[in-house]
Amino acid sequence: MSDHLSGTRALADPAIDLTDLYAFSSPSQAGRLVLVMNVFPNARPGALFSDAASYRFRVRPVSVPMADSGSLFDVGADEFALTCTFSIPVGAEDNGELTQRGTCVLPNGESVSLLVNDERGGEGHGVHCYAGLRLDPFFMDVAKEVETRVRRRLAFVPNGTNSLEGTDVLTVVAELDVARVFGAASGSVFAVAAETVTVGPYPVRLERLGRPEVKNILLSDNGVDAANKVVDLRDLYNEEDPFRLGPSYVDAYRSRLNANLVFFDGLDSKADWTTQPDGTHPLTELLLADFLVVDVAKPYAEDSYFEIERALLEGREHATCGGRSLNDDVIDTLYTLIVNAGHGPRVSDGVDGTVPASREFPYLAPPNPDPPEPVSVPTAAAS
């Protein structure tokens, strides 16, 4: 599932488990960038953010290389970070429910305060922030995707089952005026990543996230990576800087990606990608630069995921804002890319979002108001 439950550390604490990252141009206001970070898969009413973690968007200006240059994105060293932290909750006087406050620190050190689950969010200094429980906008047929990898053939059906139907997540939304917050000279194309780190003077990275399904699908163990059949790479990958992979494990990630990409390419029984003699797949280095690329000078679109990257591969100029919108069908886009390189029919998991995200702040649909009742499980004592 996207980045849900992407490693043992994430399992131990879902409040720091990044599930998805989105970045898109505002649908209604030019020059505004919307960033969305989701955590806590299958969150229920009452779920809260950790007070011991920082939830951080990291944004860097990017240059898109000239057509046919064969280069990857040139990510600048300048960085703009929006860092959200949350308080220990206190009991509300009126209904006894716990209330939690959040603070979003902007690149210039100014901050915006908010109340968790308050739909109005907090606003100031060119930024509008929201944090709280919302409907998980991600959708996919998890069982069929897993079956595809286990049986080594495309198992999707036309009318698939959305495994995340009706589930909620905790979300952090930040909509910002790019020129005011990043400066007029920052350009319009940005690399965006999200991370959760420990609070305190020596932050330790807990999770990082760029593109969807890098950890759970592209780096998954499908028994085809001859270099590593034992180590779960996900927690190691989570510790990496989103903009600079360390030297220790990069070859392990590279090996896994090269092997998996050939594996996925063969799912339709024909090879659409040509690997180099050393086994390097054409997508590997692009995917290892694991961040969303968004152009706020281009208009909002709902199917723009990976469009800037595809334009780069195809040697043309991109046409959309790229990044990733909340309603983007990233599973279809990803599987089509890795299975047939766009040369064949669109590969679909047969699932679309049933409750589309809004085009207005805070964008994500309200949380499921009627979560299913917990199952009654007989105890050993009763049986």
């Binding site: 604490d13 879902p14 806590f40 809260l48 950790s50 069982a143």
Partner: protein, 357 residues
């Protein structure tokens, strides 16, 4: 391992320096989120949408909540979930691992090893098999075997998990100084903000010191655990023991009253009744004694292996049935030949006159 994070007290007992430990999510948030997580997974199970990973997680989290809150019924529920997981995925080694862990928790060690054999035959990786086997070896007092497996794990990588496993094994085999060094190393290696793994580690070290009579050290570790998780029932239970041993009987009684009401583990009612009896609060002591006796009767019907030692302790003391205590202590010793099990049998034999004090 050498311990570098400990100060020596005037009486020779060394107090660990736990100041500046890893920050973790506030207990009130973590417990709320744990509840929410379990509810979410349970609802997925109800809708038939739970993956094998989800089943494994649901079992694990339910066990965790049962441990923290001192709720045996929650652990029984986890056992039922593990049974359902095996029914759903009998050929998935993860279901057998979950089943083995629950069998181990209820001291059904032969069944646990059988599950692990079956999981290994279904392809469970060697590292996981070794980790699970080590836990069983340790529980039955086969410390050399367990240590060998832990050393193998450490040779593959030193992290919170492998260091903590070694610490627990050293603690149970009585190597307390060595164990504390491993506990401190594990604590330093922690990378996360969930309070649960760290609080449990600190509880285990505190438990070790308490068993050795190191009250000051025990208190430092146990209080760190309860700062992380204020609702951590077993840690409060051991703090009550420390309170009583240090002469703060009223504080211990107040703490145990809260625990005996919140937990369905009769151990707290037993300890409370003993303390009340010593304070000549005989009416309340009789109430808690009867409460504990009834509960042990129930548990001995359902889980005789798991509660033989605690029930023996009860019948040996305020339960006042040493013959029954001796039978239970021998049952416990047959299951696991640990130093504690031997000591319990010896105490029971002395009580019935089969051995001198």
């Amino acid at each position: 391992m050498s311990s570098s994070s400990a100060a020596t007290l005037a009486d020779g007992e060394r107090e660990p320096d736990l100041v500046g430990g890893p920050p973790t999510t506030a207990g009130i948030i973590a417990m709320g989120n744990l509840d929410a997580r379990i509810e979410g997974l349970t609802s997925q199970a109800r809708r038939g949408r739970l993956t094998a990973d989800g089943w494994g997680e649901l079992v694990e989290l339910t066990v965790l909540r049962g441990h923290v809150l001192g709720r045996i019924d929650e652990t029984e529920r986890a056992a039922s979930l593990a049974e359902m997981f095996v029914d759903q995925a009998p050929r998935d080694p993860r279901s057998l691992v979950a089943h083995a862990r629950l069998a181990g928790l209820f001291h059904q060690f032969a069944a646990a090893l059988n599950d692990l054999d079956a999981a290994a035959a279904l392809g469970l990786d060697r590292r996981s098999v070794d980790e699970e086997r080590a836990a069983v070896c340790q529980a039955v007092g086969q410390y050399e075997d367990a240590l060998a497996l832990h050393r193998q794990g450490l040779s593959r990588g030193q992290d919170f998990r492998t260091l903590g496993a070694m610490a627990r094994c050293q603690a149970e085999s009585g190597e307390v100084d060595e164990a504390e060094s491993w506990f401190l190393a594990a604590r330093r290696a922690y990378r996360g903000v969930s309070p649960f793994p760290l609080a449990i580690l600190e509880f285990q070290c505190g438990q070790m010191w308490l068993a050795q009579g190191g009250l000051a050290s025990a208190r430092v570790w146990l209080e760190s655990a309860t700062r992380r998780l204020p609702s951590y029932v077993p840690a409060h239970g051991h703090l009550a023991e420390a309170d009583a041993a240090e002469g703060r009987v009223a504080v211990a009684i107040e703490r145990l009253r809260r625990l005996a009401l919140a937990s369905d583990d009769p151990d707290y009612a037993t300890r409370l009744a003993r303390l009340l009896g010593k304070c000549e609060a005989s009416t309340e002591a009789r109430f808690w004694r009867a409460h504990a006796a009834a509960r042990y009767e129930e548990l001995m019907v359902r889980h005789p292996e798991a509660y033989a030692d605690h029930a023996a302790e009860f019948w040996l003391t305020i339960g006042d049935d040493p013959q029954r205590a001796l039978r239970l202590a021998r049952l416990n010793l047959a299951l696991r030949a640990t130093p504690r099990a031997h000591a319990l049998v010896n105490r029971a034999m002395c009580r019935v006159g089969q051995r001198r004090q």
